[in-house]
């Protein structure tokens, strides 16, 4: 299939030659339906640690880490999938769960396209099957009139089906997955009496689902469904430097996409990321207690704030970028709970003031912009 330029290239295309290399490099046993050995999948996702991997024809190649996080987590995911068990990735928003699921699916079965995006409006059809109603009424029930869901397609192909944001689906819709995951077949009662009234999962079929920890408000998963998944909690980036790096990189991309020059001081960036981390964890880097706002202080939000500050300094030069920080933070925090403003203020009066008191110049400057928060 020829492709035009894409905004985002799926993993199996972006890393096609790496996947091909790894598939040829490791001749070990593979679980049924897998393109790579489990060890090669781990290497693909978590990188080869800077060491070259021996490939076919004495070629060597260093595999970059695509997912920043602990290797043991990736190993557990891979082993779970190798056991044909459902894998549920949970974590705060913005922790690269979807990316991890995409990488795993691409490495295991060569496609990450069998995906269902969960929303409150997702119906059972999208997880099981729907009908081409015109055909159905015209010709009666037949496999021809059946519209397979990505899950059903994955079952027949022995591939990995992905369900994004599974907790946003209504519980009864989610429960469509229960029988699929336990019995590994899907009955098509409308076709009763015809041979293929039941679709059996081919070896290798499994499901990767993702869910956010913070917005549970929509619907919880039933216990029956939970028991059919292994859960992996994907934590936020643990390392301050790594997070600053990520924020810088992404903010730069955002700013440069619109043709502006990126000019944000690293010190400002560090201040920003530190504030985000403090408020996210409820504990400052010094270990002081901080009141946590109910809003998610994700890395993605930090990127947005950094980009806004960068754009502001680029388009409207002359203002101290630090003076913009409190206002932007207020915008991030004041989303659904009015008390969050008070919590931000408490952070300013508590941890930030103490930091300013220790004589750190930058923090004193930030502290001085407190009045922007009292609006």
């Amino acid at each position: 299939m020829t492709t035009g330029p894409r905004q985002i290239d799926p993993a199996e295309h972006r890393y096609a030659d790496e996947l091909a290399f790894l598939a040829a490099a490791d001749g070990g046993a593979r679980p049924p339906g897998w393109r790579l050995t489990p060890r090669a999948v781990v290497t693909f996702v978590a990188g080869s640690g800077g060491k070259p991997v021996d490939g076919p024809g004495k070629k060597k190649r260093v595999i970059d880490a695509k997912f920043i996080g602990e290797r043991a987590l990736v190993e557990r995911c891979v082993v779970t999938l190798a056991g044909e068990r459902g894998l549920l990735l949970v974590g705060e928003p913005g922790t690269a769960k979807s990316m991890l699921s995409e990488l795993l699916a691409a490495a295991v079965c060569g496609t990450s396209a069998l995906v269902v995006q969960g929303t409150a409006g997702t119906t059972e059809d999208q997880l099981r099957y729907g009908w081409n109603y015109a055909l159905l009424l015209a010709k009666g029930p037949s496999r021809e009139a059946l519209v397979a869901s990505p899950v059903l397609t994955a079952m027949t192909a022995g591939a990995v089906a992905r369900v994004e944001e599974v907790t946003r689906c209504l519980p009864e819709v989610q429960d469509a997955l229960v029988s699929v995951l336990s019995e590994r077949r899907m009955a098509l009662p409308e076709l009763a009496g015809i041979d293929d009234a039941t679709v059996y999962a081919a070896p290798g079929f499994t499901v990767i689902a993702t869910a956010n920890l913070r917005d549970r408000g929509v619907s919880e998963m039933s216990a029956a469904l939970k028991r059919r998944f292994n859960f992996e909690v994907v934590p936020p980036i643990a390392d301050l430097e790594a997070e600053i790096d990520l924020v810088r990189r992404q903010a730069r991309v955002t700013v440069e996409r619109v043709g502006a020059a990126y000019e944000v001081d690293d010190a400002v960036l560090e201040t920003l990321v530190t504030v985000f981390r403090d408020l996210r964890t409820g504990r400052s880097v010094e270990g002081w207690e901080v009141e946590r706002p109910s809003t998610v202080m994700s890395t993605a939000e930090a990127v947005a704030v950094a980009a806004s500050i960068a754009l502001a300094t680029s388009y409207l030069p002359g203002r101290d970028p630090l003076s913009l920080l409190p206002g932007h933070l207020l915008g991030v925090v004041r989303k659904d709970d009015e008390a969050d403003q008070g919590r931000l203020l408490a952070y300013w009066d508590g941890a930030l003031r103490r930091r300013a008191g220790t004589g750190a110049h930058l923090w004193r400057q930030v502290w001085e912009h407190r009045d922007a928060l009292e609006a």
Partner: protein, 1200 residues
């Protein structure tokens, strides 16, 4: 490598392979590098020793432990046990406690046992505890050279990348199953070498370790010629092969008597007496003699051995390690072990009420084994098992199910094994230590009579030591002394303490038990207290109260280390979920600590200011939770907090909270907050004064509440009589008589918040302002009567002329019906008359000097005194110049009082006063309220029900009609408002949205126009517009569980909750459960059809255990998706908050809808614990102050 490094340790080889080969190849000595707990090495040691066949086995234990080896190896000694040693410093103070625990998986213990079996000599080789080498300053920690990544870090990155990865576990334990003992030994030596290498390239080796190693080398050398096997920490192993001329002698020479050459290792088979004679400590001469070590062999437990208990060289999950050593580290047996543990964890989880079955256990075992295979390990290690358990069972829920999993894991993996000491071993060292201490402190010992002793710890140093020792005895649960309670008023510190002391046989027996925890009194006390804390933690605690109590005890016992730990607990438990009183107590304790007021602790611990800071922040947060309070104590607490914060310069955010409360609190708290702002100088006195005056025109109940709040805080300001009070005085004086009379009970109620003395001062101020007037008549009454008649005639004349009669119509003559009859003749005309009227008004309002009132008004005062009494606080027992003593006789019966009120105030005010009286606890008054006459209100119902609790059935029967009427009226009212919010039943509709349920007839009907005949003659309908059926709304079998907190006092919320519940119980399609809870849960669901019975059944009192109530509610849930759980409480949980959060999570996870009502009434403000509420909200139970209508709406939205 930088040359400036402080490293003086022996050099190490740089090539790992060469180095390890050299270490492993040595046979003089033969090295077994270990970690103190290592199942695979423990399994390998006998084989290794068998093959080497040494003449002498040396283990890494201080020299003094030599004599204890036989007891350790004794077949009657069951592991785990620990050798405990403490050095007594030269000043008599306790040195640090050293614990050397041994389990079956400790290579040292295995070696000692092997030697005993094989008849081979065994001896200790570590530095004697009395040696000064132990006192060397520890080296700098973690100073790794950034230019050269440590081997350790490099190796770790290559492995799993898990935080806190244990290199030993990865290199030695996990790959060991199935490999030869020699391979295990080599791996262990390699890890030791790597650690050593990192230490060298990092900050250098701790000088203490260097001293110990020098000693060990000397011991090995002293074995001259015999075949020696040394079992030491793997880290030390490389150092034993490196002769070090520069260091060895220097450290060994200072006390030749201590030299190892003089002491031969004891044979394991030798008699105990022989061993004792060679005791290292006894041999100590010279300066070291003062530092004797006390040693005892004590039973130990697995939970103490676990690293999480705080024991530094601990190992994780002893029960697992025990299993590994028992199966001899055979790969397939270890695999089986992992499966067995998986099954046991799932069954423990099931026992805790969470679904988990064999399918999960199988997946755990599968995942652990496959992970091991992926990582190239022969069998799953502890790490793989833990990962598999968490992935499969915890379901990504760190606080809900995750907590249950963690608990099940700790039950199963840590185990509860407890050791036992052979009966032949000598007794523990605590008893002699305590007797010596008591002797030093000149306190009664065995055989002495009982003594009572008054101690002044702040002044006398001896008393200070005595006090600490006695407190430690108490903390160590040794019955010896009991303190008499003398505490200053209001919890202030008493300066002296009184103790009754007596040494009894029980004392002695208890000391033997306490000996488990340490060999000196301080250790025993600290050990006991730490065990207590561990138990609290096991129950998800400590709670705020436990943490505060723990801190107080630790302070009293002068245990600096524990104080630090407890301070952190306080910061955590109180700082995050504490109520305001708890927080203030915490601040108190912390500030005492900082002020050096604790006798045993001169230096404040580090981080104290941080804790105080956090507590203040928590206090400010807690202020928000007071906004809904109607309790004067909360207003007082607010003032106290503000004063503290003001003095400490921490007011910034408090101002914000106060402003919010002044806007949105209950009337009382609004007023209190406004007054606090004036006290702090945030608001001007003038504006506040105007606001205060305006409240006089508020509805009576609200006016009382506001005045009470404001006066509690600002009483002293008002006494001063400045701008704050002038508007109020003016307003009261401007009122017409009727208005005044109507408001009098309310005003009096408001000022009742002040103490009698304060009220007298205000009265004096008012009198000053008006200028005093002599109440006696200046003229002869007859003359006055004539003047009066003339006045009246004049006024009539004016009125007949059609002119306005002016202010004369509201003269004091018309003050009351009673007054009208009697006072008219007495009152003098002119300005003095007005002044006297004003002062009389204030005498009535303030309830002071009532005998200076005119007789008619005196009746008013008496009627009100009947309600309010003399007041509380300063001056309530003293008779002020003219007040109190001259009162009319009190009313003999309520009936008379009631009649009097009717005459004086009129019917409306009378009911108001009587309701107040009922609210104030006058049962007799409540019995007198006429059901048909009262205005139904929840406040009144609440007041009456509060009384019902203490009534006999006979009197209750008389109250019943009143309650019945109130309940009926209120229920009907409530039902009218709630019902519209609860319409939920709907039937399936047709829709064009594809729902998956095709409505075939509908579709055919909608597409008839496309029907045509097909080529084969069949009718063909092309369904251009398919029609679907929407899902039938789930309107049946919804369950609402209302949990009502009845712990403190009967709250209006409770009344509302019961009424709401009985209304909701009448709604079809909804099953309503009504439960009340304190520390126990009472299910009142079967009373719901009769709200009257329901309300009379509600019993109030006890602590708060919300988690327990939720657990009960969990049992009622059948279909979680259709269950709503509503908790009505102030959320001041008396039990660990962690458990509460876990219950909430468990319910939320199962799919129930949860709602917390901080209050359920018509005000929308609540008094609750903010910290806990925030944590609950984060766990998925939103907390809000709701009205019953809002609750009904919420229920309605859920159902429809």
């Amino acid at each position: 490598m930088t040359p400036s490094r402080r490293d003086a340790g022996p050099p190490v080889d740089d090539d790992p392979a060469v180095a390890v080969a050299r270490l492993a190849g040595s046979d003089a000595p033969y090295l077994i590098g270990v970690r103190h707990h290592s199942p695979v090495l423990a399994a390998a040691v006998p084989a290794l020793l068998d093959s080497f066949a040494p003449d002498l086995v040396l283990v890494e234990l201080p020299e003094e432990f030599g004599e204890w080896m036989p007891w350790l190896a004794d077949p009657d000694t069951v592991a785990p046990v620990a050798l405990a040693a403490a050095r007594t410093g030269p000043d008599g103070a306790d040195g640090p406690l050293r614990f050397y625990p041994f389990a079956d998986f400790s290579p040292e213990l295995v070696a000692v046992r092997w030697a005993a079996r094989a008849g081979v000599a065994v001896g200790p080789c570590d530095l004697p505890l009395a040696h000064p080498g132990w006192d060397a300053a520890p080296g700098p920690a973690d100073e790794t050279d950034p230019g050269e990544p440590s081997l350790f870090a490099t190796a770790r990155d290559r492995m799993t990348g898990r935080a806190g990865e244990d290199l030993w576990d990865r290199w030695v334990e996990a790959p060991a199953p199935g490999s030869a003992p020699e391979a295990v030994r080599r791996a262990a030596l390699a890890v030791g070498w790597a650690l050593r290498h990192d230490a060298h390239s990092g900050g250098g080796v701790d000088p203490r370790d260097l001293a110990r190693e020098a000693w060990m080398r000397a011991r090995v050398a002293a074995a001259d010629g015999r075949r020696v096997a040394v079992i030491v920490g793997a880290f030390h192993a490389p150092a034993l092969l490196t002769p070090d001329p520069a260091l060895g002698p220097a450290l060994l020479t200072p006390d030749p008597a201590l030299g190892p050459a003089s002491s031969g290792p004891t044979s394991a088979g030798s008699e105990a007496t022989g061993a004792r004679r060679e005791d290292g400590a006894e041999r100590a001469r010279g300066p070291a003699r003062a530092k004797r070590a006390q040693i005892s062999l004590v039973p130990y437990t697995f939970d103490l051995l676990d690293a999480r208990s705080g024991y530094p060289a601990g190992i994780r999950d002893p029960q697992w390690q025990q299993g590994v050593v028992e199966c001899g580290a055979d790969p397939s047996a270890v695999e089986g072990l992992a499966a067995a543990f998986a099954v046991r964890v799932t069954s423990a989880l099931r026992a805790a009420g969470h679904p988990a079955g064999p399918a999960e256990a199988r997946e755990v075992a599968r995942l652990a084994t496959d992970l091991a295979r992926l990582r190239g390990l022969p069998a799953p290690g502890r790490g793989e098992l833990v990962e598999a358990l968490q992935s499969t069972l915890a379901q990504g829920e760190p606080v809900g199910r995750g907590r249950a999993v963690a608990r099940a894991m700790s039950d199963v993996l840590i185990g509860a094994r407890r050791g036992q000491i052979t009966a032949r071993a000598p007794a523990s060292g605590l008893l002699p230590s305590v007797r010596r201490l008591l002797g030093q402190l000149r306190l009664p010992g065995p055989g002495d009579p009982e003594r009572t002793l008054r101690l002044d710890p702040l002044r006398s140093p001896l008393d200070r030591r005595r006090e600490v020792a006695l407190q430690r005895l108490v903390a160590g649960q040794i019955p010896y002394g009991s303190a008499d309670q003398i505490s200053g008023v209001g919890g202030a510190d008493a300066l002296t303490t009184v103790w009754r002391l007596h040494w009894t046989p029980v004392t002695e027996a208890s000391i033997a038990v306490a000996g488990l925890y340490g060999v000196t009194l301080a250790q025993a006390a600290e050990g006991r207290l730490r065990t207590l804390r561990r138990r609290e933690r096991a129950d998800d605690g400590p709670t705020g109260i436990q943490a505060l109590a723990g801190l107080a005890v630790a302070m009293a016992c002068g245990l600096a280390g524990l104080v630090r730990v407890r301070l952190a607990d306080v910061a955590q438990a109180v700082g995050q979920g504490g109520t305001l009183p708890e927080i203030v107590t915490g601040i108190d304790l912390a500030e005492r600590l900082g002020g050096g007021l604790v006798p045993a602790l001169a230096d404040p611990p580090d981080g104290l200011t941080d804790v105080i800071e956090e507590l203040y922040a928590a206090a400010v947060r807690a202020v928000d939770g007071l906004a809904g309070s109607d309790d004067l104590n909360d207003a007082r607490a607010l003032l106290a907090l503000v004063h503290r914060a003001d003095a400490a310069g921490r007011r910034l955010r408090l101002d914000h909270a106060l402003a919010r409360m002044a806007d949105r609190g209950t009337p009382m708290m609004q007023a209190a907050a406004a007054a606090v702002r004036v006290v702090l100088g945030l608001d001007g006195a003038g504006a506040f004064g105007e606001r205060l005056a305006s409240w006089v025109d508020a509805p009576p109940i609200e006016m009382t509440q506001r005045l009470r709040g404001a006066l509690t805080v600002a009483g002293p300001l008002l006494e001063a009589g400045d701008a704050t009070v002038t508007p109020l005085l003016d307003r009261v004086e401007e009122l017409t008589d009727e208005e005044f009379l109507e408001r009098l009970p309310g005003l009096r109620g408001g000022f009742d918040a002040l103490s009698p003395a304060a009220r007298s001062r205000i009265l004096a101020m008012v009198t000053d302002r008006a200028g005093d007037v002599d109440p006696t008549l200046a003229e002869d009454p007859a003359v006055l009567a004539v003047w009066m008649a003339a006045d009246l005639a004049g006024r009539q004349a004016v009125e007949t002329l059609g002119m306005d009669s002016g202010p004369a119509s509201s003269g004091p003559t018309s003050e009351a019906s009673g007054a009208r009859r009697e006072d008219g003749a007495e009152e003098a005309p002119g300005p003095a008359r007005a002044k006297r009227g004003q002062i009389s008004r204030w005498r009535l309002v303030l309830g002071r000097q009532s005998d200076s009132l005119p007789p008619g008004q005196r009746r008013l005062a008496t009627a009100l005194d009947e309600l309010y009494g003399a007041g509380r606080g300063e001056g309530s027992y003293t008779v002020d110049g003219s007040g109190g003593g001259g009162r009319e006789t009190a009313f003999p019966s309520v009936r008379e009082w009631e009649e009097e009120l009717d005459v004086l105030f009129g019917t409306r005010v009378r009911e108001d006063v009587l309701a107040r009286a009922a609210g104030a606890g006058r049962v007799d008054v409540a019995l007198h309220l006429r059901p048909e006459a009262v205005r139904p209100s929840v406040e009144l119902l609440h007041a009456v029900l509060s009384l019902a609790g203490g009534m006999s059935e006979a009197r209750l029967a008389r109250l019943r009609p009143l309650v019945a009427r109130l309940v009926a009226a209120l229920s009907a009212q409530l039902a009218r408002t709630l019902r519209p919010a609860l319409t939920g039943l709907t039937s399936p509709r047709r829709t064009r949205r594809p729902t998956g349920v095709l409505d075939l007839p509908g579709t055919v009907r909608a597409n008839l126009r496309t029907a045509r005949l097909g080529p084969d003659g069949r009718v063909l309908v092309v369904p251009e517009r398919p029609v679907f059926r929407s899902r039938a709304r789930r309107s049946i079998d919804w369950r609402l569980i209302l949990l009502t907190d009845v712990s403190g006092s009967m709250e209006p919320s409770t009344v509302w909750a019961a009424l709401t519940a009985s209304v909701l119980a009448g709604v079809p399609a909804l099953r309503t459960h009504f439960l009340t809870f304190s520390t126990e849960v009472i299910d009142l669901t079967d009373r719901l059809d009769d709200p009257l019975r329901l309300l009379l059944e509600v019993r109030v009192g006890g602590g708060t255990h919300i988690a327990d109530a939720l657990r009960y509610a969990r049992g009622l849930v059948t279909v979680p998706n259709r269950t709503m759980v509503v908790v009505i409480s102030d959320f001041e949980e008396g039990y660990p908050v962690g458990a509460l959060i876990a219950e909430v999570r468990a319910l939320v996870e199962s799919g129930c809808a949860l709602l917390g009502c901080a209050s359920l009434d018509d005000r929308g403000t609540a008094r609750y614990c903010v910290g806990v509420a925030e944590q609950l909200a984060a766990a998925g139970m939103p907390v809000a102050a709701l009205s019953p209508l809002e609750l009904a709406r919420w229920v309605g939205e859920r159902v429809s």
